[in-house]
Symmetry: D2
Subunit: 330 residues, 4 copies
Amino acid sequence: MTVPSENPIDLDRSNPEAEIAARATAYRNWGRWGDADVLGTLNFIDANKRVSAASLVSEGRVVSLAQAFDTDGPQRGWRRRTNPVHTMTDTGTDAERGNQGFPHGIGGADDVIAMPLQCSTQWDGLGHIFDHGNAWNGRRAGDVVTSDGDLVTGIEHAAAVVVSRGILLDIGRHLRPDTCELEDGYAITAADLDSCAAAEGLTVERGDIVLVRTGQYARTRRDGWGEYAGGPAPGLSITTAGWLHRTEIAAIATDTWGFEVRPNEFDAPAFQPLHQVVIPNLGLTIGEMWNLEELGEVCAMASRWDFLLSAAPLPITGAVGSPINPVAIL
Amino acid sequence: MTVPSENPIDLDRSNPEAEIAARATAYRNWGRWGDADVLGTLNFIDANKRVSAASLVSEGRVVSLAQAFDTDGPQRGWRRRTNPVHTMTDTGTDAERGNQGFPHGIGGADDVIAMPLQCSTQWDGLGHIFDHGNAWNGRRAGDVVTSDGDLVTGIEHAAAVVVSRGILLDIGRHLRPDTCELEDGYAITAADLDSCAAAEGLTVERGDIVLVRTGQYARTRRDGWGEYAGGPAPGLSITTAGWLHRTEIAAIATDTWGFEVRPNEFDAPAFQPLHQVVIPNLGLTIGEMWNLEELGEVCAMASRWDFLLSAAPLPITGAVGSPINPVAIL
Amino acid sequence: MTVPSENPIDLDRSNPEAEIAARATAYRNWGRWGDADVLGTLNFIDANKRVSAASLVSEGRVVSLAQAFDTDGPQRGWRRRTNPVHTMTDTGTDAERGNQGFPHGIGGADDVIAMPLQCSTQWDGLGHIFDHGNAWNGRRAGDVVTSDGDLVTGIEHAAAVVVSRGILLDIGRHLRPDTCELEDGYAITAADLDSCAAAEGLTVERGDIVLVRTGQYARTRRDGWGEYAGGPAPGLSITTAGWLHRTEIAAIATDTWGFEVRPNEFDAPAFQPLHQVVIPNLGLTIGEMWNLEELGEVCAMASRWDFLLSAAPLPITGAVGSPINPVAIL
Amino acid sequence: MTVPSENPIDLDRSNPEAEIAARATAYRNWGRWGDADVLGTLNFIDANKRVSAASLVSEGRVVSLAQAFDTDGPQRGWRRRTNPVHTMTDTGTDAERGNQGFPHGIGGADDVIAMPLQCSTQWDGLGHIFDHGNAWNGRRAGDVVTSDGDLVTGIEHAAAVVVSRGILLDIGRHLRPDTCELEDGYAITAADLDSCAAAEGLTVERGDIVLVRTGQYARTRRDGWGEYAGGPAPGLSITTAGWLHRTEIAAIATDTWGFEVRPNEFDAPAFQPLHQVVIPNLGLTIGEMWNLEELGEVCAMASRWDFLLSAAPLPITGAVGSPINPVAIL
């Protein structure tokens, strides 16, 4: 088996099936952590990793990496994804008017939310994407995710796992120092990732959680959502699959809707080909729609790009994704 | 003004109105952090606090303090609170059958959740409880929380705040070494809190996030939910209000539905009187329905009860509570 | 092929598989209305039927046959079925306080609902039940109902169909004149249906919508829901399958959760065997959880048991059921 | 008190406050049906009305007047209104694969919906709109609709009421015989309503349910939703308030989002001024987003514009609106 090229120029843009399959095969981690594994590359985080990540906390500063969860989000209905709908079951207006039926002046407010688990800042679970009917670790998709949810690799299994060193690869700032924003359709390469890390003085290490800032989210804050949810975007090239495998990172997240470059790099129709390679085959946990704006500024100001990252998902039983509020602790 | 007693024996059990008012007045923090404050006691967490909390990470272990978020939870409909309803919009069964309309063998699973924000492990926001029509910092309840949500102190304001030293006061283990479980209706006193801290070798410090384990949740895991959501439970006595104020803790959480003892300590009808004192008057952030079982065992085994606690809420705009997965990092 | 017995005494209680299969085979209507059919026995309603049904309207009285849709319903979480959760997005309290931002004194209230489509008074769609992987008309279940809903026989197809003659077979009143309530576990037979119709002076005719009152719902109004949603109940015997087929009725509905008798009539484990026969094989539309109390009294008082029934489902695209408010117009 | 003009030319376009108030005062029905009334003009429907309406059924034809309830609807998030989100909790794909845990080959599909009650074809309840803090019959808005819903005039009270003679005033066809569509912003006058009725050979009578077809919905079917939900539309002029009062109709519905003309007829900012007059003051039940296309064609073809209309709301306890599938039975 030849190693797939990590240079986009070598891609056969007319043959997504083959290019996907080559990478799926070359970088497949099935069985690497045993047949029963439900964590994939999150296994790369170990105790030492967390201890050394915690030692990075020197300023006592916390930066939230979540976008707002509300009705004004980017979703436009694709595959029934809506923005969160938050409603009140009790309000202060009622409490002040005294109609809640409680004694001695106590009043309360309560609320409810309905939302797709992938509507805003989130982790994709390992059951989110399949490759030819196969889920992570070689299981059949229909044995893993039914209408009852992900019965095997549900996001709840990662509830006590996702704390590690986070590193920010601010590709937008690195490649476009003037605007700090990559243009839609820009395919980030393995070489880009390496040169950015080098410029930041970082070495990407096993168990790292890599945050890739493209700057597209900054653009939406300025110009409106536009087609943020599903339209063109900068993102990782399918040719970075080798880098994602070789570096033994635990997880990766971007400030875009879809992690990988859109439109993708094929002339023939294809859909999220890098997802198809890395989730079911590498077992890589992917985060999307993160807000990396404040973090980008903080890191640039302090010339440091590593921190303790705490980003545990909500343990929603059987979920294939989780809304999160990841925090970088510097 | 006389200082309210911290001994339950001194409570006038026939006069909740007066006992609540005495503590509300004595411990009111309104204006302490300025008129515009939206964080209350979370302000006690500062940068140094977080740096020293991070230095507690010595084992690299993460313990999730969340209960499961699913249909099998304890909610039974009180004030329209249900358990989470998680449904799939795409499944592996469909993907494997090839009916999703994607090319080249990629398939996907997606999901949706509908849930009250207070249905499982959560933080109460400062807009969750009112005292005689007043919300935190002396604002009128109807100016703060309308049908549009909490327009002033929404939980999103705490998105980058709730990381600090956590300490576990395992009162169940401390007072009931045989069973490690307090009985329902047991009112934890300030003296109990102090003696537990002393036994654990801890000093409660400004900015700490205090976790109080009663053991009631362990009982539900063994015996079934019963009336966990709204029935009798061990919890804090209203007389601990002074302790909660004096210690300058940032937040407190329990493994029970309602944080305070139930039934409460009054003969006359009253409802969650300690909530009425501490949320709108002290500005104290309260957590409920935490799972402190594994943490209790880990701490007892290691004879250490402090750790880095990372428990940032989801920034749901205008929410008066947030589902969370708090993690203790030891 | 022998005709299955319509006498429960003849059932082989140890062999549900065979008894179900015998009736599925004997009464299968696949192809009866063409390969493309999406209505099943609703086809029995024709224009003349409706004209004569309308001529039954002599008193100008309308009786609603719906139970209340609210949080206090019978659902307890079986297969994630909850009671409806109704929340407000705008309220009169807010409007009166003037915080809604509208000019000249206009204010508004708005609301939202989240509910299972089978949580209260409903029609089951033809895609609700399958027999050995087959849906109505012999289609494969997986070709009909995916995560995207019922792509073929969705309830929307019946939006302009379900208006016909309704007849009330008040079996509770007929068989138990003292209490007007059948006991849980009572299996209504074809002979019961015929003797009730005869006693009421009715002939069951092609295209009728038959309402069977057991009286169980009256019991819940008096004694509480108990196990109404999924527990023991009076209902139709599996041996009525022949009657349901032979009479060429358009649809049938009961005042119980599950239409058929529960526990069912087999000693070996079985689940809703009559559903398995009649929905996918006969193409029979079934209604459940109807409120037949007022109608029962009105009919008994007037000694008439037929009326115009208007019970069109909400055209929820791809739904396998619909909440309804059926009305009897007398 | 002078009677407000029914000619739009007489409107003081700079003074919505006064024009609204004049009509609210002139046409107020408070107390007309007693202090406890919860039905308003629906009281105009009596038994004789229904008997004669039923006698209109001569063809046995049913026309559904509902739009589709699905994700592809017109809502764009105004006041948190989304399109319906319909998800499956069990599917045929799962059933066919045999993973549902049921014996003997039975399988099932179940589903859930989350939707605003005003998202598609609906009745507005009497608690939907307020005038200067007053609800229907002169009650204070905050006494009627709290976070718990409409405690007084909830839509459930109309569950057995809304069956009467329906008449279609096809204003689009009448005024624009070429296109059958009124242009956005066209204000339908009392004179238009009368001339249309006359042309159709109809007399508008007490207790009628009047359906006004503008043709705007046809435009959306051809051109896409555009701003159907909240943008410009043809609709009733505020000057029709007298007509709506004088004719003693029971209810009225249109094929538009908002019933009245948009933008409204004032130069100063105003919001749904006719709503403000007719819901809280007349007690008029309003329907919106009805699909009157097929009905328009059927009526034009047959040159008859009256029929039995059955349009009972779902009895959602405390709701201020209800999704409906109204049916015209001809």
